[in-house]
Amino acid sequence: MPKRTIIPFGPQHPVLPEPIHLDIAIRDEKVVEAIPSLGFIHRGLELLVDKKDFNDMCFVAERICGICSFIHGQGYCQGIEEIMNVQVPDRAKYLRTIWAELSRIHSHILWLGLAADAAGFESLFMHSWRVREKVLDIFEETTGGRVIFGVNKVGGVKRDIENDVLKRIVGTLKDMEAEFKPLANVFIDDYSIKHRFSNVGMLSKEDAYKLGAVGPVLRGSGVSIDARKLGYAAYKELNFEPIVENSCDCYARTIVRVREVYQSVDLIKQAVDKIPDGPIDQKVTGSPNGEFFSRLEQPRGEVVYYMRGNGTKNLDRYRVRTPTFSNIAPLVKMLEGCELADVPVIILTIDPCISCTER
């Protein structure tokens, strides 16, 4: 009986944009055990509430993660607004929705590229990221930054997007969609992609639900849960259905993300059509006192913030439960019995965002 090979995988590894570590035990190339280890990015920024006031914490929240930085800011602000009972103007809500959906497009295409790269498909990675730059240009034009936007604030948003710019954005997105389509078809149909993704990292519907999987991982296993359905920001008024795939493997998760790109483009179109005119922020006075669990759908899934204010500038507790954190348990499950070559693909399939996981 062959013995095990035990090797470290990460924290520094070409396939991992971020440090995570696994002790992998393999036999031939079959993974018999994979124990994850975290903490390489642990900053303890939740404790910064002691040092930064609740307004400045918005900057911190944005820097929990650089990929869906915007949504972190949005989640934080929405939570505080809820505690303080601030009525955010509708235009701000729509703008938040638009930026959030743009973030999702950017994040998903970025992920698709990384997934292609994890499977050793370099050209697909390159082309995905080429398409993604179009979205980054929109960001830079509207917020002034390519990845960290800094447009959220408690009570609304800092920058407005003019209506004609919004129209132009929709046009740009159409172009992007046209360029994305052939790439999406590669993800959907290509033989080698299917070879690498199909039947890899199986996570049954029951396991996905029980182990607390979120986002595309959950929806790829056939469970229709999407926190946007809670109706925060402008989602209440937009028409969409959670995207669900049933094959429960890496391929399903990939397809969920491909389809969500199209869905997000559609949501932005709807939002641009419906966006009302008006102010973009609401003056906020006083300090938060109370508690709230704020839930949002990030590209990687549902994120939960718990905030507790005590009437001073500094919060008592700011707690972030990010999607990746929730997906760690399913990840361990998925890694059981896979091939060594699947490890990068499976790790990527939860779209790990370690910086937010460890905060």
């Binding site: 280890s37 639900y209 707690r319 439960r321 929730s326």
Partner: protein, 129 residues
């Protein structure tokens, strides 16, 4: 926000475990376990089913920082509970995967529990330099 958030405070650990088992059997999933240090440790177990958010609160005294794991009911609880152990210094009994304090591997023991505001301010001064 259209969702309704309900928080129920529960007195004893055993009752909590019963409640958790009940949640599991009625098809809820564990969304979050979070801990907050007030005068005691406030531990919140949050569940969700069909976007319905239910939250059970349980208090752990600072003097005796111990609690029981729910990882036998919800396997994925181990991440939260290990985190709580590392950050708050609460001993969690009955973990299915116990990292034994190596989850985050921070040098400061239980920073969320011990770090006083005074220390924080000192750090701020240092940061300014």
């Amino acid at each position: 926000m259209i969702e309704k958030q309900e928080t129920v405070t529960i007195a004893s650990q055993d009752e909590l475990l019963k409640k958790v088992a009940e949640m599991s059997s009625s098809g809820y999933r564990l969304v979050l376990i979070s801990c907050t240090k007030l005068n005691h440790f406030q531990v919140d177990y949050s569940f969700d089913k069909n976007y319905e958010f239910r939250n059970f609160r349980f208090c752990v005294p600072v003097e005796k920082p111990e609690m029981k794991s729910i990882s036998s009911v919800f396997t994925n609880a181990f991440t939260y509970e290990n985190e709580i152990h590392d950050l708050f210094g609460i001993e969690v009994h009955g973990l299915n995967i116990n990292y034994g304090g190596k989850f985050y591997r921070i040098n400061i023991k239980a920073p969320f529990s011990t770090l006083k505001k005074a220390v924080a301010v000192a750090a701020t001064e240092e940061g300014k330099k």
